[in-house]
Symmetry: C2
Subunit: 334 residues, 2 copies
DNA sequence: GCCGGTCGTCGAAGCGCTTCGACACTCTCA
DNA sequence: TGAGAGTGTCGAAGCGCTTCGACGACCGGC
């Protein structure tokens, strides 16, 4: 409350102690008597003191900020990104860190800049691709980093993601349990497969393997995102595979259109065709009928990424690869 | 390239000048001879120098970081937020600033914290509500701020937004030009109106006034976001208003379901019912048929917000209120 | 009753940068 | 030809914090 910007020196004077004592109260790096601590803390709240971030970063060589690097490309799962982002922010705050948002606009230069200028202590990268330009840079950076997603060559990096192969397999298993014998996967748009985005391929692999393991008939198709294209895809699919009775949809933007197409084609869900989606919970719940789904645990992935990067900051060794187990929620569509 | 973390002193020595000279080359705050400047810049790139952000912030009292404060509530337009966010980041970089991401988790404490600790120089708040807890705090903060959206009492604040009233009116006008005489607005879920979110109400007001001005018949309804609810709403609407031939949809999440419901009810778009949406371009383009729409200019709003906050940082006076004109893109649905 | 240990606190030295005042030059114009 | 007005550069004083070494005060053990 006293004339703009309170410094640690003012707190020290107010409490009748040395500046360093106040610092130690705050950091807990040396023992301080209960009595002194009380007085210091009282002064801090009486004066409304907030340590100056720049000074702290300069003296301690820690900014207490981590970078969150967004992708910025067509076809990315925009709504999911926002949930990752806020999960990361929330998790970072628990470790007393803030989050700097970086887009890919600047390319790798932005990453280099914030790291070299000590603006951030560590990095979390979202939506990593198999062949990601940012990855080589990370290897040579002294700052620790964690990737959400898997590049082609993850050796020496720390990666977190939903276990998409297990998710694909889990959907197949669920449909098999329900007695379906011929099923299909509608995945990402073909451009996403071509770009080599990891999660799309891994889901498909998990799907294909599980289909074989369960002795089912199965087909995996890419899936565009406009209603007309989806309508055709679904129509042809049902036509070519008359025995088909189960559908796995791994494409958030297409889920609604797939259901609309089935309605149009007079197939009732789940009576004629059972549908399992891999998508965020809210999308599955809002659909009609509400979809049995494997949720994409954005919050958990974000939290885990932050936990790992903090461990690395502390100098601890962490596993290269963290795959989060899929969780299937049964709803009205199967 | 030389042993971890290059300082301005090393650059100065390498170039054979004083530290302050290097600083002035970088900031341009004093004239430096072309010759010296060259030498300094060469040394900078030879050594790979990046100024330490903490030291800079400490000495200059400017962190060159702005805070982007997200809302975090049910019913918010998640995908649009992401586009605002990346527009803000991109725009901030043009002013040589970075963006710190803040969620509402911490409430107003987070805003207070980053401002008081000088972590950020200024704030941009997204998705402001009519009655927003964060607003009173902003008034007492010395740091400049800009709001995206309008609170009930915007006096003394700087606000930017799409002119939703004009957008609502623009849609009506377009339908009137096409000869429609009885039209309806399907807006946000009722909870959003109750919360008093500005943009929903303003669109409705613009719609209602324009309907009167053009001597049309019109009705404005809230619109939930599940297919079944939307189906009922649309069915009842068409039943109660047999002459209705135009629909304005201002609800991104509902657009797909509205079209599916019309299909289901055997109404052809645009032949039986013309549809205009207020939504991001990509949603309008992906719909089937592609929708005539007033786009929500996320990029422009973000850019403008950053421009304004930078002006305020420079001490310049800016208008309290900036309304961005709506732009109608005609597509296949009208 | 003296010595070695803790414990709690202090003072001072930076961290890497910006900025202010000073100073040596070089022009210009009376 | 000399005063006055720029130019271009330097040195040093901070900015607010953390951290290191030092140093009393107090403790228990012999």
């Amino acid at each position: 409350m006293s004339g703009r910007t309170v410094t640690i020196a003012q707190v020290a004077k107010h409490a009748g102690v040395a500046v360093s004592t106040v610092s130690y109260v705050l950091s807990g790096k040396r023992t301080i008597s209960a009595d002194t601590r009380r007085r210091v803390l009282d002064s801090i709240s009486a004066l409304g003191y907030h340590p100056n971030a720049g000074a702290r970063a300069l003296a301690s060589k820690r900014s207490n900020v981590i970078a969150l690097v967004l992708p910025l490309r067509a076809g990315m799962h925009v709504p999911v990104l926002m949930r990752f982002a806020s999960a990361v922010v929330t998790a970072a705050r628990r470790f007393d860190h803030d989050v700097l948002l970086l887009t890919a606009d600047e390319g790798t230069a932005g990453i280099r800049r914030v790291a070299a200028s000590a603006l951030v202590d560590a990095l979390v990268l979202m939506d990593v691709e198999l062949d990601d330009r940012r990855v080589p840079l990370l290897r040579e950076l002294p700052e620790p980093s964690v990737l959400i997603g898997f590049p082609a060559e993850p050796a020496g990096l720390t990666c977190v993601d939903l276990d998409f192969a297990a998710a694909g397999a889990r959907c197949v298993e669920h449909l098999a349990e329900r007695g379906h014998e011929e099923i299909a996967l509608l995945g990402a748009p073909s451009v996403v497969y071509e770009r080599g985005t990891g999660f799309a391929r891994r889901t498909r692999e998990g799907f294909v393997e599980a289909v074989e393991a369960h002795g089912l008939k199965g087909v995996a198709l890419p899936c565009e995102e406009t209603f007309d294209e989806i309508y055709e895809t679904v129509r042809d699919l049902l036509h070519d595979h008359p025995g088909l009775s189960g559908l796995v949809v791994h494409n958030e933007a297409a889920v609604g259109h797939v259901l609309a197409a089935l309605r149009q084609l007079d197939r009732r869900v789940p009576h004629d065709v059972a549908v399992v989606a891999i998508c965020p919970d809210d999308v599955a719940e809002r659909a009609s009928p509400p979809l049995t789904s494997v949720l994409i645990p954005a919050e958990e992935v974000g939290r885990e990424a932050v936990r790992l990067v903090m461990e690395k900051l502390e100098g601890r060794v962490v596993p290269d690869s963290t795959l989060l187990a899929p969780l299937l929620a049964v709803r009205a569509s199967t």
